[in-house]
Each structure stands twice: as C-alpha cells, then as structure tokens.
C-alpha cells in the first residue's frame, strides 16, 4: 500500500545549489532504489540532500552522510538541464529527484547518471559513529 508523501512547499533550491547523494550511482542499484520509493510513495524518486550553504554541506557530511565513504556531488542546474525535477519530500534538506515528463524508472536513472557530478571522499566518514538520538 502506498503512502501519501507530503511536499514541504519550500522554495526551489537555486541553480547553483549543491546536491549530495551518499554512495555510488550504479544503474541497477539506482533502479532498485527508485522502485522502492515507488512501492512506498507511488512515484519513482531518488533521495538526495541539498545543503543550504557550505556549512550545511559540511554538516550533512558529518550527520546524514556520516556513514558514506564516498558522496556524489551535483549542481541543481545540471540536474534540471537533464529534465529532472527536485521534490521537497521528507524532512529538510531531503529531496527526491524525479523525472516528470516520462514516468519510466530507467529514464530517471539514466538522466541522473548522465548528469555531471564529482566524487567526494567524505572526510567525516565513520561507519561506527552516530548520534544515537
């Protein structure tokens, strides 16, 4: 049974905003992830994080992405140029990358993979750590 995911209704991030995703971007893995999102929320989406600024990026690398050894770093403008949309889902600064013009999961994943990105080695990486809230 799918859930009704709520959009936060925030202003869209600017074109120069950074978009982070922990882990690799292997095609088969991304397709499986988007299908998991579809199973829960009824749309194909890939989870990413959008820090507000450089300090926010460092904070994300030390919190939500603490346990990711590598992090992919995109820019909003590059993702939008590939026909992707950014939906403000979940808790800020979480977003879903979606491809609205065509609901096909492979189109979504291929657009993400084709988007220019860089790979960061997370300087805060600590798979044993965490806040235990």
């Amino acid at each position: 049974m799918t859930k009704q995911g709520m959009r936060r209704g925030e202003p869209a991030p600017g074109p120069d905003a950074v978009v982070l995703r922990g882990g690799g971007i292997e095609r088969d893995v991304l397709i499986a992830d988007a299908e998991t999102n579809f199973a829960v929320y009824g749309f194909y989406g890939l989870s990413v994080w959008v820090p507000a600024d450089a300090d926010g990026e460092a904070t994300l690398l030390a919190t939500k992405l603490l346990k990711s050894r590598i992090v992919r770093r995109f820019l909003v403008a590059d993702l939008l140029a590939r026909g992707l949309e950014m939906w403000d889902t979940g808790q800020s600064p979480h977003y879903d990358l979606v491809y609205v013009r065509d609901g096909d999961v492979e189109t979504l994943v291929d657009a993400v993979i084709a988007t220019h990105n860089t790979t960061l080695i997370n300087p805060h990486h600590d798979p044993d750590g965490g806040a235990d809230t």
Binding site: M1, K3, G5, M6, R21, G22, G23, G24, V29, A32, D33, E35, T36, N37, A39, V40, L46, S47, V48, W49, K64, K67, S68, R69, I70, T89, G90, Q91, H94, P127, D128, G129, G130, A131, D132
Partner: protein, 81 residues
C-alpha cells in the same frame, strides 16, 4: 569487508526521518527490534528495525557502540565436533 544483512539506500527517508527498504519475504524478513547491518559496502550502518509493513521495513541508524548494547554483533565461531 562488511557483511550486509539488509540491502538499503541510506539516503532514503520517510516523512518521519526513518530509513526504509524493501525485502523479499519470507526468507529474510526482519522483525521489529532486530539489530542488523543495512546499506551498501560504501554506505552502511548498524540499524534497529522499527516497523515492518508488508514488504517494506523501517529502521533507524545507530552507532556500533549502541548496537553492541542491544545485541551480540559477532556470530559464534563454528566448533569442530
């Protein structure tokens, strides 16, 4: 190399900030309260299972220290008979 119990995208969160993943029932069905390793080789964490709903499992990440307080993290070595 870490052994992953539950394949999961740890970027993925629901509206309550919980991670979630799909599993294939019934063979690898986790139960509420289970302490597992979830994620992928380059992005994994010890987690505690919060809820299981059909084929979707919800969980939260914990430190190794906290996981060790909740469960035995190392499996027994097999003994020769």
């Amino acid at each position: 190399m870490i052994y992953i119990d539950l394949d999961a995208d740890l970027n993925m969160e629901d509206d309550d900030g919980r991670n979630f993943a799909r599993f294939t029932p019934p063979a690898d069905a986790p139960a509420v309260g289970d302490v597992l390793v979830a994620g992928r080789p380059d992005f994994w964490s010890w987690v505690v299972i919060d809820d299981v709903d059909d084929e979707i499992v919800y969980f939260h990440q914990v430190s190794t220290r906290h996981a060790a307080q909740l469960a035995t993290l190392v499996a027994d070595m097999p003994r020769a008979v």
